[in-house]
Structure formats: C-alpha cells, structure tokens
Symmetry: C2
Subunit: 173 residues, 2 copies
C-alpha cells in the first residue's frame, strides 16, 4: 500500500493564496494538457483529503472527483455533511493507513497541505509528484512547514512543459 | 544591469539547516560536475551577499570566491572586518543597484537568503537559477519568506541531473 502526493506549488512553495486562491494556476492551463493527472488518478484507489480542501472543492461548480473514492479526514464534520459519496474518517494518518490496508487499498492519493504535512510527519508518504508553477506567489498556504522530519528523496523523473511548469516525481528513500 | 540569483534549495525550500548547516548538499556532489556554477560565475561582475552568508563562507577552509569581486551588505560590520578583498557596502538594494550601475557593472550575483529576499521585495531580481536538491530538510533557513510581492516568471530552462538535482532557470516577466 502506497501513499502518494500529487500537487502543484508556486516556486516559493505555496499551494494556495492566503484565502485559498487558486487562480494563479490558470497561467499553466493549456487545452488538452493535464500534466499527467488522469494517468495518475487512474492508479489511485482512494483520495484522502482534509476538511479545508474538501470545503474548497465543494465550492467548485462541478465535483471534480467523479469516479474516485474520496475520504475526508475531519473530527468536526458529520456524516450528513458529506456530498458526492465522499466518506468521513476521523483518525490519525497511521489509523487511516491501517484502515486502508484492511480494505485492500493499494494506492492512496494524499491531498491538501495540512493532510500532506501530517502524513509526512508520520513518515507515511511513499512518493511525491510536485508541479512547480512559474510564479512567486509571495504569501499563502505552504505545502511544507517548518517542523517536518528529514526525508531523503530519489528523483524518478523531472520534466519541463512548454507552459513553464516543471514536474518532478520523487520516491522517498 | 541585471541582478541574478543562483542558489540551491531543498524540495521544501530551505537553503540551509537551522544552524546554517550545508552538509545535505553533499548528496549531489559528483566529481567534475559543478551544475553550471563556473559558467555562471564567469558572467558575474560582482557578487552581493549579506553578513550572515559572508560569515559562513569565511569559516570555510578556502575562500571560494577567488577572482570574483564581492560586496558584503552590512550595517554592523566595519571595513577592518573585510577579508580576501571583499568590499563593505551599507545601503538598501536600490542603493546597491544604483552604485553598481554607476560603476558599469552588468551582472550582479545576489546571494544569501536574506539579501535575495530584500532584492525580491524591491523587485530588483531579473533572473533566478534554482537547483532543487532531492531532500526534505524539514526545518532551516527559507529562501522565500511569507511577505514577498507577486512575481510572474518565465521558465527559460529546466533539467534534471543524474544525482537527482533539478535545476530551473527563470526570468522575471
């Protein structure tokens, strides 16, 4: 069972603006170019996200995870807050992984900065695909914090796209 | 006159450990591979660094900037603290650039996290070459802070090296 991160950041390491703004991602939108997203999501059995990410994506005009099983980690949401078949789970990353293992899950997509950090803290992340957008955002929500354990990484692939996005895939050593 | 940044960071955006540790850079050291450093430094007329960087490099067994003119920005150091022909300058990034222009300098290499941030704050950086080392350091001294102005960037080149280092060169739009 693998836990995978697949996320876009600014050159200065933000995943969203201070008020969850994602408009800066538009600079790399190109017709017919999904930067490997579909190929990645097709390998994922469960997408694990936090409450904040869930509330952001609920606000989008369309549910973007149709066909993907979604778990929302939260101790404050209730089952009746769940939409689009998303499942609620209250527990630590270790408990999440234990439960996913029991359910025979082979790959979980760990999404949202806070949840990613909690999985890194618990040393439960197996690989990271980071797409760096050509912008210095200046302020916002950081992907990595200031108190994570050291992880040695192995670069498996890196490539630049014509839009200026640089995507690198790392395996945790 | 151009101001250029050329720096290595961890995947999580640190340029040094909490106590200026740089030992993690050793993971990408390869005989005969300088990741374009010599080609870059040969285009530089003046290297501009802060007091902290200066004190760190003074502690190395050899002075690593032989043959390069070095300016140290500090309001606390004195001329008599200067070694290896380094010159002391007390002034803002705008004043530095004005003086370098008067002196006919064509390219300045802006080094050290605090100095780089002060030049970004003043929107005086023209290009950035960032070498990302395959490690999550977890804590340390950040290259980018939480209060910089937005910069749109243009990716000019990006390439991975066998060591896992990914070097990307951006021009400020």
């Amino acid at each position: 069972m693998r836990c995978s991160v697949y996320i876009a950041t600014s050159v200065d390491g933000f995943v969203a603006g201070p008020n969850d703004e994602l408009d800066w991602l538009a600079s790399v939108e190109r017709p017919g170019e999904d930067y490997g997203y579909k190929a990645f999501i097709d390998t994922v059995d469960v997408l694990v996200m936090g409450r904040r990410s869930y509330e952001v994506v609920l606000g989008f005009p369309e549910w973007r995870y149709e066909g993907t099983r979604v778990w929302v980690l939260s101790s404050s949401l209730k089952g009746s807050d769940m939409r689009h078949g998303a499942e609620l789970f209250a527990g630590s990353p270790t408990e999440v992984v234990a439960e996913l293992r029991v359910q025979g899950v082979e790959r979980a997509y760990i999404d949202g900065a806070a949840v990613i950090r909690s999985f890194l803290e618990a040393k439960l992340v197996d690989d990271l695909t980071i797409s760096v957008i050509p912008v210095i955002l200046g302020r916002g929500i950081r992907l990595f914090g200031d108190a994570l354990p050291h992880h040695d990484l192995v670069l498996e692939e890196s490539r630049p796209f014509p839009s200026g996005l640089v995507q690198s895939r790392y395996r945790v050593a």
